[in-house]
C-alpha cells in the first residue's frame, strides 16, 4: 500500500480508503481515486489477509470437521458444503477428526486460531471427547450436523432417522413382507436411532424381532457383506433387509449376488442415505434420502449468522429435517 501511495503520490491511508471504497464517511476526489486504482493494478497489489485479520476482519473461512470423508455420504456433503460456503463468499478449511495417532494435531490447528470465522462439525465425534472439548473452548461459533443420539452440544441440524426407517418398514410391510431384518451398520457416536426405530416398528407390527434379525456390523461394504451372510444362514431367513446405510446395503446386494440370492425376487433391500451409487447399484437401490443440500445450506447460513450477528443464540438446539423414501428396483413383494 505504501508503494501504491508512492507511485500515485498519496498516503497509505488514502490508498486504503480508495481500495475499501470509502464507506461513505469521507469522499475521495474522483481523479485521485483513479490514480490510486491504476497504481494498485500497476504494482499488482494483493491485500495481506494477516494484516487485515490482525485488525479484526473476518477471514471468510469456515472450518469443517468431517469424520471420514472417504465415506461417500460425507464426501457429497462436503461438496455441497463447499458449494454453499462459496455462495456466501466463504472458503473451507478442513479439519480431520478421525481417531488416529496424530489426532491431537488436526483440531487445535483449526481451532487454536482465529483464522476461522466459524466451525461446522459434520458427523458425530463423541467418541473423541477431546475434540468436543476443543470445540467448546473455541472462540468461533460451532454448528453441528448429523449428531444422532449424542447430547446436543451446539446448534445442530439433523435428520429424522426414525421417520426414514418407519417409511422403509411401511413400504416393505405394504409389499407383504413379514420377515424383515436390519443390517445395523455401526454409526459414529453409537447412534442407534435407525436400529431403534426398526425394532419399534417391527415389534409394533409383528410382535417381536426374531432372533438374529438385527445384525450389527461395520459401516462398510464388508459390513453389509457380513450382515447378509448372517441373515442367509438363519433357519428362517428374512425376505427383506433394511440397512442403516447405503454402503452397507450395497454390501448386502453384493453378498446376495455372490450367494445366488436374486434381489428383489428372493430378497428386498432398502438402504439409507441415497448416495450417488445407490441409483446405479444392481439392482438400483430403494433407499431413504435426506435433503442434504437443504440441511447443509441451513447449517452454513446459521454459521454465518452466528458470526455476523451476535444476537443470534449459540445455545444448543436441534433442527430436524424430514427424509423421503426413494423407491427403486431392489424392493418387491416377497
Amino acid at each position: 500500500m505504501r508503494d501504491i501511495g508512492a507511485v500515485s503520490g498519496v498516503s497509505a491511508s488514502t490508498v486504503s480508503r480508495v481500495l475499501n471504497d470509502a464507506p461513505s464517511k469521507v469522499a475521495i476526489a474522483a481523479e485521485t481515486r483513479e490514480r490510486v486504482l491504476r497504481a494498485a493494478r500497476q504494482v499488482g497489489y494483493r491485500p495481506n489477509p494477516h494484516a487485515r485479520g490482525l485488525r479484526g476482519a473476518p477471514t471468510m473461512m469456515l472450518g469443517v470437521i468431517v469424520r471420514d470423508f472417504g465415506d461417500p455420504f460425507f464426501a457429497d456433503a462436503l461438496e455441497a458444503l463447499a458449494r454453499a460456503a462459496r455462495a456466501h463468499g466463504y472458503n473451507i478449511v478442513l479439519g480431520h477428526a478421525r481417531a488416529e495417532e496424530g489426532d491431537a494435531l488436526g483440531l487445535p490447528a483449526v481451532l487454536d486460531t482465529r483464522s476461522i470465522d466459524a466451525i461446522i462439525l459434520m458427523g458425530n465425534v463423541h467418541d473423541q471427547p477431546q475434540v468436543i472439548a476443543d470445540l467448546h473452548s473455541s472462540l468461533a461459533p460451532v454448528v453441528a450436523l448429523w449428531q444422532g443420539t449424542s447430547p446436543v452440544e451446539f446448534p445442530t441440524i439433523d435428520v429424522d432417522d426414525r421417520g426414514g426407517v418407519v417409511a422403509a418398514v411401511e413400504l416393505l410391510a405394504s409389499l407383504g413382507h413379514g420377515k424383515i431384518a436390519f443390517a445395523s451398520a455401526n454409526l459414529p457416536g453409537g447412534n442407534t436411532r435407525r436400529e431403534d426405530a426398526y425394532v419399534e416398528q417391527v415389534e409394533a407390527r409383528f410382535g417381536q424381532v426374531p432372533e438374529g434379525y438385527v445384525h450389527r456390523v461395520a459401516n462398510s461394504l464388508e459390513g453389509g457383506d457380513e450382515a447378509l451372510a448372517g441373515f442367509a444362514d438363519l433357519p428362517e431367513p428374512p425376505t427383506a433387509v433394511i440397512a442403516s446405510t447405503d454402503i452397507a446395503a450395497v454390501g448386502v446386494l453384493h453378498a446376495a449376488f455372490a450367494r445366488g440370492i436374486v434381489v428383489p425376487r428372493d430378497l428386498s433391500v432398502v438402504g439409507f442415505d441415497d448416495i450417488p451409487i445407490a441409483a446405479y447399484s444392481i439392482p438400483a437401490l430403494t433407499t431413504v434420502r435426506m435433503p442434504v443440500a437443504e440441511m447443509i445450506g441451513d447449517a452454513v447460513e446459521l454459521a454465518i449468522a452466528l458470526v455476523k450477528d451476535s444476537t443470534v443464540s449459540r445455545a444448543p438446539r436441534v433442527r430436524v429435517f424430514a427424509p423421503s423414501l426413494v423407491v427403486r428396483d431392489s424392493t418387491s413383494g416377497p
Copy 2:
C-alpha cells in the same frame, strides 16, 4: 502476551522468548520460565496466527484445488491428502475449481492471500484458463496432480495412463478377447491418453479399431450406461469393454445387467482407478489401480519442500508413477 507478562511480572518480549522456547540465542532463568508458563496456562493463552503470519510465519495450511470431489476418486484422494498433510503438521484449505457461476470467487479467495503456504492442484483445470493464470500469479508454490496431456505448468505428479491401458488390453487379449471396445469417459482437460493407448494397442494387435468401438461419454454412471447401450446395439458387439474410469465401468455393469448381459460370461469389463466401490460392484471389477497414497505423499512432500527450501526448483516437470492391474471377477475368456 501482555497479560501473561502482567501476571508473571515480566515483559512481553520475555513471554515471547519463553513461549517460543528461546532458540538457544538467549537463556531464560528457569524460575522465570516456570512463572511465565504457569501464567500462560492460567490466562488460557492462544497465539494469534495473524500476528504471527504478519511477521512472516508459515500458516501451515495447504491450499487444495480439487475439481469435483463428488467424484469418488478425488474424494479418496482428498482423504489421503488430508492425512498426508496432517502427518506433516499442515491443514487443508479447500478451493473449488468447478466451472460455475460464482467461479471467480473460489480461486482468488484461496490465492490472493498469503494465508496459504503452498497449493496443490488435483485434477486438470485447463478448461478454466483463469484458474491457471491465477495459479501462476500466486506467490505460493504450486504442485499439480493428474494433469493428463495438458501442458506441464507446474511441478507435476502423474500416472502412466498408457501403461495401465496396455496392461488391460494385454489381460483381455491373453484371455482370448479380440473384440475389445473402449468406453471413453470424458476426462477433465480433454485427456485422451487412455483412449489413445487403447487405439494404439488395438491397432497394433488387431489391425484396426472397429467402427463404434470407441464411445465417448460423460464421466459418470450414466455415461457408462450410455456407452454400453452403444456397444450392445452394434452389429458385431464387443466381448470386452475397457472403461477409462471405474465410474463409467460401474455404469457399464449396470447397463449390462439391465439388458441381461451377464458379466463376465457374455462380456468382460475392465475399469480404471480402483475406487472403493470397484471391489464391491457386481461382479467385482477388474481395474487399474494407481498408487494414490504414494502419489499424494510425493506431492505433499514436494509442496512442503518448495515452501521450506527455496533452492528446490519450481520448474514445471512431471514425475510419473506406474499403475498396476487388479484382476477381479469382471473378466474371463470370451
